[in-house]
Subunit: 344 residues, 3 copies
């Protein structure tokens, strides 16, 4: 009888245009929200308080935008990255609808590009993933590309298709949550006085605080999003006996640390790009710094958009990113480019 | 003034027919559900998604069957196993009603057997434990027997009563949750295409994945079920300074790992037997394999029953269970025999 | 451009009469409740079961009183204790209204005293903190005093104002939750038979059990209350590379352990004083003992009040508190003086 367990897809199992409905829909609730606050030093007021969110025109406090991202992403792992050698990049990410407690999310991916590597043993797979709620509304979409092993090095290479991926979402293409209104925004309760006009393109912010990570924490986080890639859980899965920390754990940690200096960068609405520059392991102390890349208006009352580079490090001086060779410094964990909404 | 703390019951404190109402009822909710997903790689769709559960005829997604089991079990610890030398076995377990967020569980045990050991210092106590919800409905029942110390070795032995415990629940005696209907079961969303007819008696499945366990995780899990046995929490309670991992943590870990190959073994409805073969400690990497023991029909539409042996190990080859001497191999942690419901 | 991150207030930034509205209101729910049960061996029935709480006249099970305390306290950290050298004491704490899932808490502090130390480099700041819910009701109030660094040792000393703080809340000033009625109290379900009349002033109780603490647990707990003081999270923040455990984690651990002997000391309604006698670090095994300080009646049916000293230790014999020099013994972690409600 054939094996009943999932061996994952290999490079030659993908075809451009193929649509994969990923397994295991998930109902999210206040438990996931509480765990998010226990795992990360998250303090953005809109995601902490129903009363605050209601004062901003929302029906209640949404679940953190990264809860939605991690949940949608986690479902793609068994179909997209079980045999991945590396997660190469993100692009064209947009949050289209806030997720509230009680919503059920599922994920669907379309293969939009394929390119076999010259070594003949691996190839790059590009997928556009969408997260859908129980009503079939898209809550989130993003493009990700990963390097995947071939099952058989002799299998013929597919036609190369590389999607055209702009460097960033244009501000005009960001979707502002229905009803959002920052005209009565309470800066005292939010924690900082800085509004959009107080930030300048090119400004850098050292978020100061650091968090030393423990094995139990990143494993609980990663399981919470039903991401079951072996390397995060099993000390026998990697030659050095270490458990690689899920890149999304570093994203959430850095984003939460950025509260100190960016407390009013409330909602993540765009993901322009991102690289997991170096592996993160338990015992590392994660710090973060940000750089303001772009500032824009939105049609919603009192709501502006700020494009930020968010860098997570495990040491080194703030604001150092690449060496003279153009490569990421060895202490850099994450280089993320995203859009957030901020009161004007 | 007499001590106000609980010293636990000793063997001579039990009498056949005695009924113990265990303390501290517990309201379970979405927080416990989220923690369960953070502690175990649980992905069975019926317990993950309200929408999926509704498509199977249930009012919403129940709490994992093992949340109900651990909660009911935990309450019995101060009265049944505080002075236990060993947990010897389980039998005749049945889940009678799914538990939903908001339900309040309490536990009651009846002593159904007593047998003093020949050494005169310990004896075996058999209890039938029932879990009751806020309406007084029985949600769960099972028999457990433990070896308990005598307070006084000179106390007279009670009359020996050993209950007649069949090896397994007959398929016809399983209780199918009201309304359950698998005729529209979505195999894509559930994660695997295998239905009951795809499994054969005697078939074995290696669930492949492993999880290395941390102290913080098993202590959080064990406290969550209000199981406060010292050996799980206090490094000074055992001679070697280790904290013994609650056997139920290993059951939940193995059951969650079994998703990979048994994604459609959705609901646990019977517990035929179980042995905690060797102690599990932090640092162990838990793996699991299953063997199909029996296959049966049920009266519910599209719903079959599968009886499974679930074995958790901390190493060794899959499918190895006992040595030539008939004893469990030293790497085997758990040997569990249970019934689950699966689409036909 | 000036730094956008919070450097915290220094001694000369406070003035008597100053009112600070602390940032980031927080909606609490069943997720926080479940995490509280996972982090501490909490078993008091009123906080575990809706059905039990309803049998005591409440609309449902409140969130643990210490969840309310930690949440309100955590919000004050960025404004009160970021540059604190030491947390010196608590007084005049009263719980005025139970907190239920769905409530949103925020914190406000008034500076009620200032006293520069003779070294000229630090001073003591006294604040009265109130916790408010979404309706503006005060749910909690307490006085805390901390030693804070001066930014500039040459800054002039403020006028010394030391508030008059009675040693304890008078029993008559305790606020009993509306509707509370212990006349139908179920001692079996609560876990112990001891009522108020079974305790005598001067009686001491060894709570027996111990819990060895892990880094991941105290960090999750401390983040959960949005307390972000560096020393709890960052191994590079203290010279010895250790992470200091938040004092509130020790309070909750000791209170939960005190169930064994004080299962019916259900609701905390007063905090008379408290000292964090020695630092607690991961690996420490926390134990607890209590001493009955006072017993009183209340106007509510069947409800009495018991004033308790709760001592947490990391070793040593129970009931040992201070050495011959009058100082706390090195194994003592916490000396807390509080009022709880108990059936008469």
């Amino acid at each position: 009888m054939a094996s009943k367990t999932n061996a994952g897809r290999f490079f030659e199992d993908y075809a451009v245009g193929q649509v994969i409905d990923h397994a295991v829909p998930r109902t999210l609730g206040n438990g996931e929200r509480a765990l998010y606050h226990a795992l990360y030093p998250a303090r953005h007021a809109l995601y902490s308080s129903d009363a605050f969110a209601q004062s901003c025109g929302l029906p209640g406090s949404p679940l953190d935008d990264l809860i939605a991202f991690h949940t949608v992403f986690g479902k793609t792992v068994p179909d997209v990255s079980l045999n991945a050698v590396a997660n190469l990049g993100y692009a064209q990410g947009r949050w289209l609808k806030p997720v509230f407690a009680g919503d059920t999310l599922r994920s669907r991916s379309e293969v939009i590009g394929l390119k076999q590597n010259s070594n003949g043993r691996t190839g790059v797979v590009y997928v556009r993933t969408t997260g859908l709620n129980q009503s079939g509304d898209t809550v989130l979409e993003y493009v990700r590309w990963v390097m995947v092993r071939k099952r058989d090095a002799d299998a013929p290479a597919p036609e190369t298709v590389v999607p055209d991926l702009p460097d960033a979402i244009a501000a005009a293409d960001l979707v502002i949550p229905e009803g959002l209104d920052f005209t009565n925004y309470d800066f005292d309760l939010a924690g900082e006085p800085h509004r959009l006009g107080d930030y300048a393109v090119g400004e850098t912010i050292d978020h100061v605080d650091g968090v030393t990570i423990e094995e139990a924490e990143h494993m609980m986080a990663t399981r919470l999003w039903q991401n079951t890639a072996k390397v995060h859980f099993d000390t026998s899965a990697r030659p050095d006996g270490s458990r690689l920390i899920y890149g999304g754990h570093v994203i959430s940690m850095a984003r939460a640390l950025s509260f100190n200096g960016l407390a009013n960068a409330q909602m993540i609405v765009g993901l322009n790009g991102g690289a997991h520059a170096n592996p993160c392991l338990a015992g590392d102390t994660v710090r973060a710094w940000s750089e303001v890349l772009e500032i824009a208006e939105t049609p919603a009352p009192g709501v502006g958009a700020i494009r930020l580079r968010l860098v997570a490090t495990k040491g080194g001086a703030p604001f150092a990113l690449r060496g003279e060779d153009g490569k990421y410094l060895s202490d850099v964990l994450l280089d993320l480019d995203y859009w957030a909404l901020m009161p004007t």
